[in-house]
Symmetry: C2
Subunit: 301 residues, 2 copies
């Protein structure tokens, strides 16, 4: 059997440090995860150890991509999730045994879906995560678009409701204040405490609300579609600004409700955006988008 080119994808998350060895066809040859260490020195040590273990099993590894939950600028990382401000991660990894590329985790997810997932064949794609907040990885012309300072794609902090709720960023009416998983959960709580489900002895989780919506509970369905409506406003804005071929969704809300929201959301976007061609797709790689994209970036070098 010929030795195929492969690369190591590393996803440095809030909870786990994950890695995978991925070949050029997108097949995972190996994967593992550990609890994310806390200090920079421990993280760097764990990455070194992981890369060494991978190279022992796969000598044909050509490089490593490392996805981080924050802003990467010239190898320096600032990450709210990791509690990092201007941490020189690239210099700390300079003596890694293979060439390493750092990138933002949303950008990695976008590359993962582009090279190995739902967005194969696309050139212009927005990869949107609907989670605690809303983040995005932007692919334009087949490559990650980072912007002048590595800050492109802060889509959650696009104001869509200028008199709306005050966001942690200081602005009012940021998209994530109405369309994130957090906003959805807030509206579920409001519905529950105002007596929407009198026979229920606890505040339903978003997954329970989705299940109720599937079973025909009108209040639950209205809550899900309300979040979808707010998603539609922001996605239509993105369509009018970036004119992508596709928007790929991930994160809890999208993944839990996709069967309910897809047609509704597509209709909203078709009505609101100039482009009538944009496709709305659900992640194919799920939680692996980041680690796969990190490997893909290394394979692209």
């Amino acid at each position: 059997m010929a030795e195929e080119r492969c690369a190591i994808g590393i996803d440095l998350g809030g909870t786990n440090l994950r890695w995978a060895v991925v070949d050029a066809t997108g097949e995972r040859r190996y994967q593992d995860r550990i609890d994310r260490p806390h200090s920079l020195a421990e993280i760097v040590g764990a990455i070194h150890q992981g890369v060494r273990a991978c190279r022992e099993r796969f000598p044909n590894v050509v490089g490593a991509g490392i996805a981080v939950p924050g802003i990467v600028q010239n190898g320096i990382v600032t990450s709210h999730n990791l509690g990092w401000q201007d941490v020189p991660l690239a210099p700390a990894l300079a003596d890694l045994e293979v060439p390493a590329t750092l990138l933002n985790d949303m950008a990695a997810g976008a590359v993962g879906e582009l090279d190995f997932g739902r967005a194969r064949g696309c050139r212009n794609v927005i990869f949107v995560t609907i989670s605690t907040g809303i983040g995005a990885g932007i692919i334009l012309g087949g490559d990650v678009y980072r912007g002048a300072n590595g800050l492109a794609g802060e889509v959650g902090h696009m104001v869509v409701d200028l008199n709306g709720l005050l966001c942690g960023c200081g602005r009012r009416g940021c998209w994530e204040m109405i369309a994130s998983g957090t906003a959805h959960r807030r509206r579920i709580r409001e519905a529950y405490t105002s007596g929407t489900w009198p026979n229920l002895d606890h505040e339903p989780t978003p997954a329970e609300v989705t299940e109720r919506a599937r079973e025909g509970d009108r209040a639950a369905r209205a809550l899900v579609l309300r979040t979808a409506r707010y998603l539609g406003i922001g996605v239509s804005n993105l369509a009018n600004l970036y004119d992508p071929q596709a928007v790929i969704f991930t994160g809890g809300f999208a993944r839990n409700t996709w069967d309910i929201i897809h047609d509704y959301l597509l209709n909203e976007v078709r009505e609101q955006a100039f482009s009538q061609n944009v496709r709305l797709l659900l992640t194919e790689l799920g939680d692996d988008a980041g680690v796969m994209g990190a490997a893909a970036i290394a394979l692209r070098q």
Copy 2:
């Protein structure tokens, strides 16, 4: 004297058809304009004639760029301003004596400022026109970004106020409904009719309001800064999405009020956007941005 490379820039506007011969340093060697003919055949005829006249004087012309006020997709133009739906302009110009490139007029303006104007040396620039509506040309990585369908940059139809005024596009609270020259004029009218300037015998023009603001009229100044505040919300969104090095402004409102609004607008954007580096600049080429950018595109080929 050595014969320098030069190109013809043509700007097909709502009112005029303008052309200029521009050399690689951005110097205009020749320029002219006529009233815009109405039919496609007449426009094509005028372009042929203009190109022929330019080539007689400048045999070293390498090509022509043609800026049109609409969407260009594979040489087919759709333009509300010209009343065109899917008009095959590129095929109609196939036998032009020099290679011709069609592009949207906002994109042309952006390229003009990039190659010969205020944005020299930038890689990522948004060129925003504040006029009847709000439009933009997008430069990413040094090139025009068109999107998958030539629709990128419809920034005027970014919703920023989801419960706001109904826009002609069918959405509520589009940016141009509050931050365009039209919106500014509407608020001037409201101020006038509600008795803001009891000694004035006519509704003041925007230019008069600007002049009054300069002279210390507080109501006039508040009107100008209110439009600037709404501009700031949209510009901050653009900064969070595209992370450009600069936003270049043109159009009546920006050009008439720049001395009043610049510091205020910059402060708004610094407070609202993640990037603290984005520069806000006024057009250098003014009404010539389109024709200069059309020539620049031809010189780039």
